[in-house]
């Protein structure tokens, strides 16, 4: 009796396993920020990712989406649930570096593939790199390094720099200083989440600077730009794309016009994949895409390209297929460096007005085929 039961159980289990195999679907767990002040970034990344799946017409991918509320502890819970209960093959979606640091190391150690749509903390690019971790966006320092290179090229000799006092903020100023050759008129760390910058702007005014570099993502950047424009200081501003992405430009308004910012992507990049992406995104969601959306779109296409070449069950082959990065990126050429981070051009963009819409136009290249500063420390 007992034996029959066991045999039946075993058969059912085998059948179930067989059914899952036959479907051949790759299960993706997407953990991203869909509520709270940082939701715009996660929503754009998700929409870009889902758009690519829709356009491909492929049914090889099944996606489970959960909201991390921008809280590390919730992201960790969701990752555990996705790995243990949902049994996903691939994780993706995290926007913020502190959340990525909480989730990625344990997920890749459990032999799950992690594809980063946004966060690129230095710890995961250097000594902490991992064969299962692929970053499709950039290493955190990259856009700031490009801003430093641009400030040098533009002949700025006394730049005032500021960023929030948290790891990505320190990385930002380090990245800027790595490629900036002039001297600093001042260096300020602001409180994370600060909304009033009157005191900082007064210091900029008094410092005798000839330009300003700032990294203040999301709402912090909106507040700073509006107050800066209203203060009449009027020095040229350089920043990474995070304070001038499509999601927040409308809220900054005319105050951002003419500001120069650095990004690995722009909606006017002239390649077929990008034109398809921008048009399809506008049609599907009724708004212009941001760089976060382009990163989500590229991530999904990278995944699809690997699924076409290898079976997810064969991890070595699948990793090799991912590493080839054989897909049409919205950035044009796309390839991975030794540490599975992009080696890419970083562009200089300028904020312009098209009708009622504020958006970015590419005006030059800051760094070509840029490799991040931590690649050499990665041993894998």
């Amino acid at each position: 009796m007992k034996l029959t039961k066991l045999a039946m159980l075993a058969t059912t289990a085998l059948l179930a396993a067989g059914a899952a195999m036959a479907e051949g679907k790759v299960k993706v767990g997407m953990i991203t920020t869909l509520s709270g002040g940082g939701a715009g970034l996660g929503i754009d990344a998700r929409d870009g990712f889902m758009l690519a799946l829709k356009l491909s017409g492929s049914d090889a991918v099944e996606v489970v989406i959960e909201d991390d509320q921008q809280k590390p502890e919730i992201a960790v819970q969701l990752a555990d649930k996705m790995i243990q209960a949902e049994n996903v093959d691939v994780l993706t979606g995290i926007i913020w570096s502190n959340l990525a640091m909480a989730v990625v190391p344990s997920a890749v150690a459990q032999d799950k593939i992690y594809l980063s749509v946004n966060a690129g903390p230095s710890a995961l690019a250097g000594k902490g790199c991992h064969p299962n971790y692929f970053n499709v966006a950039w290493q955190n320092d990259n856009l700031h390094e490009a801003a430093g290179a641009h400030a040098t090229k533009a002949g700025y000799a006394k730049t005032f720099i500021l960023a929030p006092n948290y790891p990505a903020g320190t990385d930002a100023l380090t990245g800027f200083k790595r490629f900036y050759k002039g001297e600093l008129a001042g260096e300020i760390y602001t409180t994370l989440g600060q909304t009033d910058y009157a005191a900082e702007i007064a210091q900029i005014r008094a410092s005798g600077a000839d330009s300003v570099f700032f990294f203040l993502p999301g709402g912090m950047g909106i507040s700073f730009m509006k107050q800066y424009a209203d203060s009449g200081v009027g020095l040229p501003v350089v920043g990474p794309a995070f304070s001038f992405d499509q999601g927040i430009l409308q809220a900054v308004g005319a105050a951002a016009l003419g500001v120069v910012n650095t990004s690995q992507w722009g909606k006017d990049l002239d390649n077929a994949a990008n034109q398809t992406f921008v048009a399809a995104f506008q049609q599907e969601y009724g708004r212009l895409p941001s760089l976060y959306a382009s990163q989500g779109y590229d991530t999904a296409n990278l995944l699809l390209s690997a699924i076409g070449k290898a079976d997810i069950a064969d991890k070595d082959a699948f990793r090799a297929a991912l590493k080839e990065a054989d897909f049409a990126s919205t950035r044009g050429d796309f390839k991975f460096g030794t540490n599975n981070h992009p080696v890419q051009d970083i562009y200089v963009r300028e904020v312009i007005q098209e009708g009622d819409i504020f958006t970015n136009k590419i005006i030059g290249v800051a760094l070509e085929d840029h490799v991040d500063a931590y690649a050499a420390e990665c041993k894998m």
């Binding site: 709270g36 260096e187 009157a198 509006k226 107050q227 209203d230 809220a251």
Partner: protein, 305 residues
């Protein structure tokens, strides 16, 4: 540090303090009169900012936007009081915290549902934008001066209301002894609705005024709410005068601490360490101030023990 920079920073501290006062005044009134901890006060600030952004976007008028922020926040406040808060007066503070925290979540996601996840545009009107030169050669944004004046006007109006009018007498009486005032024939539940709506309107006005120079987005109220609580704890719960003094103290301490501490540490540390340590300590300074006030005067500067 030059005199110009110092004067400009003093004005910044003053303006920040005035803005905090608008938030703290409503919070302290509600706490003092009704004994209610309202965590959703920050959501009313957000509602004011969103209403102002929507009306400014539709009509292009900043004055109408300010009126809309007052009206929308007051209406939302009255509605919340009638449907939710009313049931909480007799409960203990933990139930109030739980219920008003739920309100934060509901109002935030409700706002996202109506306005979407991306920040809204609300700008300073052209006649208030740009810097002006003050006596002594200080360059200062006109709009920030406007906030200072508007805040002082509101503070004056509020003092007159509390000290001179019949409603003010009832509010003060309600603070002192709510059973007695009910026994005297004052409709206490209507008074509560009125006080709550008044507090909400002040928060909404603060949201609209500040929204023009900051980011109008979901969740913008919570960081300010924490500071407003610090203000009323320092000033003494229930005291409008305490809220004003506490707000100015917090505004000044926060601004001047953030500016002066890094310079102080730069005297004996290398520059990058000085900025990091100075910035960290600067952001702790108001909490240190609160702790010191609580040690010296446990019920706050103007609190009744």
């Amino acid at each position: 540090m030059t005199f110009l920079l110092f004067a400009e920073q003093m004005l910044n501290g003053l303006q920040f303090g005035i803005m905090l006062f608008l938030m703290a005044a409503g919070l302290t009134l509600v706490f003092g009169v009704m004994g209610l901890i309202n965590l959703a006060h920050g959501s009313l600030y957000m509602i004011g900012a969103f209403a102002a952004a929507a009306v400014a976007g539709a009509t292009g008028s900043f004055v109408l936007a300010l009126i809309a922020s007052l009206a929308a926040a007051a209406a939302a406040g009255a509605l919340i009081e009638l449907t939710v808060i009313r049931r909480l007066y007799k409960r203990d503070h933990l139930d109030q915290v739980l219920a008003t925290f739920a309100l934060i979540l509901i109002l935030s996601e409700g706002t996202r549902w109506v306005f979407g996840s991306f920040p809204l545009y609300l700008d300073v009107p052209s006649y208030l934008s740009g810097p002006v030169t003050l006596p002594g050669g200080i360059q200062y944004p006109l709009y920030r001066l406007f906030i200072i004046c508007a805040g002082l006007l509101v503070a004056g109006g509020l003092f007159a209301l509390i000290a001179r009018t019949r409603i003010g007498i009832q509010i003060r009486a309600g603070e002192a002894d709510r059973e007695m005032i009910a026994a005297l024939g004052v409709d206490i539940s209507r008074l509560y609705t009125l006080v709550f709506a008044l507090g909400a309107a002040l928060a909404g006005l603060a949201g609209a005024l500040v929204g023009a120079i900051q980011s109008v987005q979901v969740g913008m109220g919570e960081p300010v709410l924490i500071l407003a609580f610090v203000v009323i704890v320092i000033g003494g719960i229930g005291s409008i005068k305490g809220a004003l003094v506490g707000a100015l103290l917090v505004g000044m301490t926060d601004t001047m601490g953030g500016v002066l501490l890094p310079r102080f540490f730069a005297l004996f540390l290398d520059p990058s360490a000085a900025t990091t340590i100075g910035a960290s300590l600067g952001s702790m300074l108001i909490y240190i101030l609160m702790a010191v006030v609580l040690i010296v005067r446990p019920s706050g500067l103007y609190g009744s023990a």
